[in-house]
């Protein structure tokens, strides 16, 4: 055989990619319709629905809330995950596996159950419907993603590096700052991005704890669709898709996307 991929493999990939991309393309095209209902812009494109979006106070404030929530939660999650990962990967202590399971457990519990639980819990402690409440719940469900990538990064580090630094006279804090941290930075960053995306994207749980005054974008979209389907939702989706693609391109340029998503340690890029 000459090529690395046979005919059927190529065909399968093509069909698969079309299958995944088609709905996205359709949504983006529909967003440019001048009509008042979901349709293809056969009479030429229009920015009508994007204008409507900008003038929709609910959507704009939800978008801001989602950005803020994602940024704060992902950052807090990363701050929690770094020391936790170091403890779990580098040290042997009683309850080590229990701690790991505890940190990973939000992945196992259905979001809807978490939603109900948080609804109860947050209103009990007087944080129902507040940003603080949303942050707490989001940090808990996105920490596993950061923890996973940081643990991968740490695990692939030669444990002799720390000993080498110590033998050169470096104390623990200096070694962390100058050796460990730079080497796990790609893992932290990719974990942060994954965590942010998961927070930004989260509906099932958030719908229980958001309040009419403070609602994230996906929840707003959900609620909106319940009583009206117009091209406004397509416009929102298009904006999100464009932002996502932009973020991907920037990250790829800066760090190399595949390397980030795998979370390897080749921090030293060729100059």
């Amino acid at each position: 055989m000459s090529g690395r991929n046979g005919f059927w493999a190529l065909l399968f990939h093509t069909v698969f990619v079309i299958f995944v991309l088609a709905p996205i393309v359709v949504v983006c095209v529909v967003a440019f319709t001048p009509e008042g209902y979901l349709s293809l812009p056969v009479n030429g494109p229009s920015l009508r629905w994007f204008e409507a979006l900008l003038n929709n106070r609910d959507f704009v404030s939800s978008f801001q809330a989602s950005l803020l929530l994602g940024t704060i939660s992902a950052t807090l999650a990363a701050l929690i995950a770094v020391p936790t990962a170091i403890a779990i990967v580098r040290h042997e202590f009683p309850g080590r596996t229990a701690l790991l399971s505890l940190c990973m457990s939000p992945l196992m519990v259905p979001s809807i159950v978490l939603g109900v639980a948080f609804l109860r819990f947050l209103s009990q402690i007087g944080l129902g419907g507040t940003m603080v409440g949303l942050v707490i719940s989001h940090v808990i469900i996105i920490t596993p993603f950061v923890l996973r990538t940081i643990m991968n990064s740490l695990g692939s580090l030669d444990s002799a590096l720390d000993n080498a630094a110590a033998s050169l006279g470096s104390d623990g804090m200096t070694t962390f700052r100058r050796i460990t941290l730079p080497l796990i930075a790609p893992g932290i960053l990719s974990g942060w991005v994954l965590a942010f995306i998961n927070s930004f994207d989260e509906v099932t749980m958030t719908i229980f704890i958001a309040s009419p005054g403070l609602t994230t974008l996906p929840v707003r979209l959900m609620l909106y669709i319940e009583d009206s389907i117009d091209p406004l939702v397509a416009a929102v989706s298009t904006v999100l898709i464009v932002l996502a693609v932009l973020a991907m391109v920037i990250l790829d340029r800066l760090f190399g996307l595949d390397r980030m998503l795998i979370g390897t340690n080749d921090a030293d890029k060729d100059k």
Binding site: D158, A160, L161, S167, L168, G169, S170, T174, L183, D268
Partner: protein, 358 residues
Amino acid sequence: MSPVTKADNTPSASFLAIDGLTKTYNKVTVVDRFALEVEEGEFVSLLGPSGCGKTTTLQMLGGFVDPSAGSIRLEGRDLIAAPPSKRGLGMVFQSYALFPHMTAAQNIAYGLEVRKVPRAERDERVRQALDLVGLGAYGDRYPRRMSGGQQQRVALARALVIRPRVLLLDEPLSNLDANLREEMQIELRRIQQTTGTTTILVTHDQTEAMALSDRIVLMRAGRIEQIGGPEAVYARPANSFVARFLGKTNLFPGTVGADGRSISIGSHVFAAPAAATPGATIVAVRPEKLGFGEGGIRGVVRNRVFQGTQWLVELDTEHGPAIVQRQNLGAVPPAIGEATGLVFEPDAVHLMAPEADK
């Protein structure tokens, strides 16, 4: 830089004194009462088979493994109480453990930076260290863009630049191919002699240990079997384990005569090189000291290998297998299947107590 020196009452304290050093993991003793005195500037190798506790011993010296018992004193100062970062020892790891996000020069500078050595002096010492290991032009390279041998040199320079009191090397050459390893052995010895740094090398390669060391510490299963200069341990191994570990050897069962002056291996009788204790003994003869001739021990050639500079001949004798190594000086040794006698000078033999194990 040196921490408080503790008063030491033991007389004739040597430069580095290790005593009774023991490590036990869940009741398994992996290093058992290791005792060694090292003089300043000495090059000592810890040699032994895999799993005999060499790395554990070195890690206890470096401070990365806590000893279960024993003491380590460097110039009279108790080392065990000090954390690794305060011991002032240089260490080269088997994996080199170079910092991948730093260039060769940055790697070497690290130990000086954490010591707050001023910029100008630091740059100068880094440059000297790079020159010392022959990497003057490679300061700006990242480790992963260097060959194994070059990485090894960077690791060595990084350990030496802090002017350690003792340099600890854990199989630093084992990841290199044979040619490079030989080159690096010569290099390592040269650098050690230039700097005069007291060095402890861990290796399981007996030629490496013999080529480099002033003294060899032979270890087996956590215990020291013998300590001595390379020539001494090679010529006079304490037991058959040491004899076998330091290269090929022939061991024949023998008997020392009642007068202690003659030795017999079967029907072959010869004069003892020195007065010996009468009774059963093991006669060790190195393969390069055996020759072919009339008389001696009878044997049949089983295999014959030509190796360029020498011939290697394996025989089956009446007293077990034997191996002979002859310099290729033109004479061709007996062919496979041929019967011959194995002869040796009486003073070529070394006697060992027979109970000294398998």
